[in-house]
Symmetry: C4
Subunit: 213 residues, 4 copies
């Protein structure tokens, strides 16, 4: 029965639609972050500049989360340049990854709300923990796709595949360090998250880790 | 007049735009689910971890709904791999389906709000009932498109088409069972919904039902 | 300077990106409608089924607005099958149209809130008035694009173009009737809006108006 | 290692995906603006028409912001017609630009809330300031891409590139004037923002500035 399908010609379209759907979800997940920043109401005697400045945790959380989701999109993009085939498991693993990326909105809002309260460590744990799980979901997707070259472009050098596998190992590890750091200090944890975002955005440093870019 | 149209060349573009629009709506419908999870406010003496954990119904509803919408996208994707032509009725049937998929956000929020109250059975009825209607909308779309091979790729084996028709019959049936179960117990109904999501995601079990994947 | 541009090859890509952007905005405009349906809070002694049923104006408004936006998308789709070139004015006219389609969310929410109050006529005026302006925006776009065959596919029959022009004239007229009807009765106005949605969705009736579909 | 990549064939796809992702974010950023317009609650003795009219600052802010984001999309579109290659830095610069475009939602809501209060100057400063920074982000993207013809289509005339560079210089300058004007009067600042939107939308005037369109 499978051979009655227009399989060969459908394959590239299939990857395209998975990428387009993923782009859609990631774009919306990033854009919805702005909803988390509420218009300030002035307390008695408070001025608007003061009220706006007091919301700095919201801006900081927006900045880190937007940049981190952008990097996730970039990583997704990099992987799907060499993933050429799609199967059911890949779609499900990709779906779980998208669910995590979308979920980032919630810990971002919690962080913005609680970073100036005594609950800040819990908020940072939740925030960095979410990034850790998301990074693990990325690894699951990649390992499934790259295992035995399963779904990859056949022309890709195995050494390049191993290079990605090696460098993808760092993501969960570093976010897990940020997670652990939150037990000591919420600010330390956030600084690591922000540092990772800057690190992945800053091309010079990155070149060291991603040889072909 | 029709023959003055660039009909033949426009056809593939037409399907592409319907798929892209559907992907957009489904992606947004899934992503908006995160808005349903509110940042908890601490009651007096309550800690943040406690407040976050108390929101487990929201997380559960997010998990089931996101996964179910993901499966709906996957089904949509599978159908449109063999649907090649688009007509007015298909666009309308597809639009009603998208309206139902988007609507899922509302019963999800109702479920998260009422699952821990005495109204839980009503919430579960509403939730599973929405999935039932959505599954029926999927069947209407498929039956219209596949009737007499109306809008399908001509090269597709009729046996494959009948296979999809047969397996699509299960969707509304199983969600209707979940709907009926809510009269007995909200938890049973939810367990069936969750079970269906896991079942459709788990490739090994699925292979039995969808031979070509 | 213009001739140094890769103009000929860029043209189809240009239309494609305008369509994709429009699809994105229309898809989001339709999907955001669901945010307008709030989770009901139970009054003392009220049951959840009762509270859910009491929200019927929200469901009705969702149904009419989603269907109407779907029809707008379909119309957009029909026009851009024969619009082949894009210029600055078309992008702006299309942008104004998208702004109106997105705006539909607001009168929809106002209608759902006020249809059961003595302000229902005002809400219906606002609702049907928005559709009238949107239909006018559609006409402006089409007349600009089709004037002197400006941006159309050269192979399209002028009689077909005139046919669309004639039938597009009905949209603003009929919605304006719904607008005027709101001075008499909000329900009459809504019935016309709903009737138009059903009329445009029902293929048999439609065939009479749109010969080639 | 790079040469083992399907680099040449992947390049156009890469630009396409960056454009599609950007379109998605910009479309959502524009559409979310409608969420900022709340359904009015009637004060005692207030009628709905009165309540709706009182919200005119929300409509004005929606109008200016939607149009301005539309123009940003148009500019993005114009640039990416001649940007042919993508590198890591361009993706990051584009991401920062998208972050700013999305952020526009927040100052828009602040403006709508405070334009009728004594804090209107601060709101206008914030609003026009955000546009200034966004225009600077556009310039950063363009200058990076066009420097030494780095990422441009090789066939593009250098004079055309310089023309864009020159005209892109006006954006931040004019929005900075609007920003400064807010120190004098919020209305003057807004009038400049609105004037710029009208100016960029009105093709006749624009022709003077963008010769090839």
């Amino acid at each position: 029965m499978p051979e009655s399908q227009p399989a060969a010609s459908a394959e590239p379209r299939e990857t395209a639609r998975l990428e387009a759907f993923s782009d859609g979800v990631i774009a919306i997940a990033a854009t919805l972050l702005i909803i988390g920043i509420a218009v300030p109401r002035l307390a008695v005697g408070q001025t608007l500049p003061d009220a706006l400045l007091r919301q700095w945790p919201s801006y900081l959380a927006y900045l880190i989360s937007f940049t981190t989701i952008l990097i996730m999109w970039l990583n997704h993009h990099t992987l799907f340049k060499i993933i050429r085939r799609v199967d059911h498991s890949l779609i499900i693993l990709n779906g779980l990854l998208l669910m995590m990326i979308t979920f980032v909105n919630f810990p971002t809002a919690v962080l913005a709300e609680y970073i100036e309260t005594p609950s800040r460590e819990v908020a940072a744990l939740f925030y960095s923990g979410t990034f850790t799980v998301t990074a693990i979901a990325f690894n699951a997707l990649w390992r499934y796709a790259s295992h035995d070259h399963r779904l990859l472009d056949r022309s890709v050098d195995p050494a390049y595949v191993q290079g990605i596998t090696r460098q993808y190992f760092f993501g969960p590890t570093l976010y897990f360090v940020a997670f652990l750091a939150a037990f000591v200090s919420a600010w330390l944890s956030l600084a690591i998250d922000a540092g990772l975002a800057i690190f992945f955005c800053f091309p010079g440093v990155l070149k060291w880790m991603r040889p072909r870019n």
